[in-house]
């Protein structure tokens, strides 16, 4: 079976993904080849006894651009093998979308234009003549709608015809008179010389030369013909520069393309009705209003978090209970003590910890997917960028940071909404400063032990705020010292509001959930076995869990690292508690319970532990301990997700050094001040 390889190129928000969905119907086989920041999707399906392979490039406004998406798209289009470029346009924004089309035409590849969302254009009173666009550009154009399936069959047939055709259609685009004159001169020269290169026409070669195309220059530079060509080219370039009064090639191309795009739009699009305001603009009058925009957004966020953590806690309780029962059952049915402990305390507990977060992640992700696919996220970035930019962050950083107050795992995953590498890394590094829900028991315990109940609430609040503020300051410091350099410009389209299909949301959410389960699950499982081993072996003769923990490898490690924590006033018990907290923050309180000899089943509001802490731990040490646990490395699950999202374990090492360093310094200051 012959294979036709199509590469999908288009600006952002033109509905490329939904077009793929419409073309493939149900015979869809999506493989997601995710890079760190940008992804390109490949899809294969059958059509008229041909295998069709689609590569979906990230949305790009221009292939000459500097962003990582644009670079990926450019590299692929220039260097990879494919049969047809399918250029997807948003019919309601023809003029701007054509700017990319004109750039793509300069690649001289087989191409088909899909005028997507034609149904929306009709609704807006736009009458677009696809045949006319075809006549002007010389490129087959089909009006389609992925929503109503209009034109999808015709599009597939057209792609087939173009791919099977041995001759590539040449572009009919004509530039301004001054440029055409120069093209004519160069073309004439090449014709007379009978010069040929690949399948390019002499006109295309002339345009390449006038466009300063590096690759073609290298090719022709070594040929004898270049001797005579060079003076002619210099003169032609001079003519163009003088006419346009600039030497910047980008400027000239932009002006030319802009004029052509406007011209094509004027000739092919007719606006029937003079409709006053589109729905999007009406909605935006409210949602991005400077006074009520932010309150509305905060309300929506509050709703989402209520859903995530309130609603999510219901299945979480069941999952927790289920794994607890399973663990008990295993313990009682396997006689061998080591094996049963490995299975129940190590493996089942570890897997349980991973599955436990799944409801949170799914609910939160449905919310984020909705915010993104409807187009609201861009508005949020606009509303909040002013504040976050001051700290070297981006408007979109808000979402992951607030999620961090719930749990760092989904928060790290939520940073994918940030497209700029630096913004993303800084956000990833400071998420830990937003105290997650699992740290709450530690705070409650210490606030309860050292402050009276009237003040404990205020102290809790102060801890949270202090963490968040410290995070913002750290973001600024990271921006100034580590992630230096110019900010990425903030020029961002605010796409039209659109309702996503359930299928699209399902695909987005299930992909995220699966990748979390797969990648994090394997590492967390291995890690929890390791931690189980370190806290269980070597076996002591005593039945007392406190002595057992003290003698275990973990306990030994804790004792060995006491000198490091001595300046903060921590004894070996507090040190070991902190270290078990690396597995999960909930464990810190349980460990303290074991070490202070109260037994394993201790909770933060247990008064016995409170009294004991009050008696044995000095106030300054306690506060330093709270500060340290506020800042230091998040739990193992989160750390693994962090490594995956940043794209390397070296970043996890940086995070470890960074958080431990800051935590040590801050608690040292706290300790000394309160001493």
């Amino acid at each position: 079976m012959d294979t036709i390889k199509i590469v999908l190129a288009g600006q952002a928000n033109v509905g490329k993904s939904s077009l793929i969905n419409a073309m493939t119907k149900s015979r869809l086989k999506v493989g997601n080849f995710s890079g760190v920041t940008v992804e390109k999707t490949e899809v294969r399906f059958e059509h008229h006894s041909h295998m069709i392979e689609i590569v979906d490039l990230p949305g790009t406004y221009s292939i000459n651009g500097f962003s990582s998406e644009e670079k990926i798209a450019r590299d692929f289009l220039q260097n990879e093998q494919y049969d047809v470029i399918l250029n997807v346009l948003d019919s309601t924004h023809i003029s701007r979308n054509l700017l990319l089309t004109l750039e793509l035409l300069n690649m001289n590849k087989k191409m088909v234009i899909a005028l997507n969302m034609i149904d929306e254009a009709k609704k807006e009173g736009l009458d677009i003549n696809a045949k006319q666009i075809e006549a002007i550009t010389g490129i087959k154009s089909v009006a389609v709608s992925s929503k109503t399936k209009e034109g999808i069959g015709e599009l597939l047939n057209t792609i087939h015809d173009v791919a099977d055709n041995e001759v590539r259609a040449f572009s009919n685009i004509s530039y301004s008179d001054i440029i055409e004159e120069q093209i004519f001169k160069v073309k004439k020269f090449l014709d007379e010389d009978d010069y040929s290169y690949l399948d390019l026409s002499s006109r295309e070669m002339a345009i390449k030369l006038l466009n300063d195309d590096d690759k073609f220059y290298k090719e022709i530079h070594d040929k004898p013909v270049f001797m005579e060509l060079q003076p002619l080219l210099l003169k032609c370039h001079d003519n163009i520069h003088n006419y346009h009064n600039t030497k910047s090639h980008a400027d000239i191309q932009a002006i030319e393309h802009y004029a052509i795009a406007k011209g094509i739009t004027a000739e092919t699009t007719h606006k029937k009705t003079t409709n006053n305001k589109t729905l999007t603009k009406k909605i935006d009058d409210i949602l991005i209003n400077k006074f009520i925009g932010i309150p509305i957004f905060l309300f929506l966020m509050w709703g989402l978090f209520q859903l995530t953590f309130e609603f999510g806690s219901i299945p979480m309780d069941y999952i927790d209970m289920g794994f607890g029962l399973l663990s008990e059952a295993v313990k009682s049915s396997i006689a061998h003590e080591g094996l049963s402990s490995l299975l129940s305390d190590g493996i089942i507990a570890g897997v349980g910890a991973v599955v436990l977060f799944l409801p949170n992640i799914i609910i939160l992700y449905i919310g984020i997917a909705l915010l993104e696919t409807t187009g609201y996220m861009s508005r949020v970035a606009f509303l909040l960028d002013g504040f976050f930019h001051k700290f070297g962050l981006h408007g979109k950083s808000f979402m992951p940071l607030v999620t961090g107050f719930g749990c760092s795992v989904p928060a790290y995953m939520a940073t994918r909404t940030l497209k700029n590498e630096k913004d993303r890394l800084i956000t990833l590094f400071i998420i830990g400063f937003m105290s997650c829900g699992a740290k709450l028991p530690i705070y409650v315990l210490f606030a309860g032990a050292f402050f009276d109940s009237d003040n404990a609430g205020n102290v809790l609040f102060a801890i949270y705020i202090a963490g968040a503020l410290l995070g913002l300051v750290m973001a600024k410091i990271l921006r100034m010292l580590v992630f230096k350099g110019e900010d990425e410009p903030f020029v961002m389209e605010m796409p039209k509001y659109r309702l996503p299909t359930i299928k699209l949301i399902y695909i987005i959410v299930s992909q995220k959930a699966l990748s979390y389960l797969k990648k994090a699950g394997t590492f967390i499982l291995a890690a929890s076995i390791l931690i189980w081993f370190a806290s269980t072996y070597p076996k002591s003769n005593s039945d007392n869990p406190s002595i057992q923990l003290e003698q275990s490898y973990l306990g030994q490690l804790g004792k060995a690292s006491v000198p490091f924590f001595a300046p903060l006033g921590f004894d070996w018990k507090l040190t070991v508690a902190l270290e078990t907290g690396l597995a999960a923050k909930e464990v810190v309180v349980a460990t303290l319970g074991i070490l202070y000899n109260i037994g394993e089943d201790v909770s933060e509001d247990d008064n016995r532990l409170l009294d004991k802490l009050k008696k044995e731990v000095p106030f300054a040490t306690a506060m330093a301990f709270v500060v340290f646990s506020m800042i230091y490395l998040p739990c193992f699950a989160a750390s693994m997700v962090f490594a995956k999202e940043t794209g390397g374990y070296k970043y996890l090492l940086y995070l470890f050094v960074f958080t431990t360093g800051v935590a040590w310094i801050m608690s040292f200051i706290t300790y000394r001040l309160l001493l």
Binding site: F66, S67, R96, L99, T280, F382, L383, G386, H389, E493
Partner: protein, 97 residues
């Protein structure tokens, strides 16, 4: 007398030149005002981005919303809404309509 008149003329001319040099910037434009882009002065990277959005010399621009602290603005160009930071808007010179 003539010298004084000359001086005055020169000063006025000078002021004129100054005003022309520091033309009106997009960032100075008030909400709900319309303008035409006169010139874009910035590095190539930003310029390329502007161009791909249709932000180019001669294009019509409408300021839809300016954020409370004057940090970001939403402009309407070619029927598309674009969010832009004031730092970037400062590099676009416009003529009021």
């Amino acid at each position: 007398m003539t010298i004084l008149a000359l001086l005055i003329i020169i000063t006025i001319l000078n002021m004129n030149i100054k005003i022309k040099r520091n033309g009106l910037k997009l960032s100075n434009l008030k909400e709900k005002k319309e303008a035409i882009i006169k010139e874009i002065k910035c590095n190539d990277e930003l310029k390329q981005r502007f161009y791909s959005f249709g932000i180019i010399k001669g294009a019509n621009i409408f300021v839809k919303e300016v954020s409370l602290r004057n940090n970001t603005m939403v402009i309407d160009i070619e029927n598309t809404e674009i969010a832009i930071r004031v730092e970037e808007a400062e590099q676009i010179e416009v003529d009021k309509i």
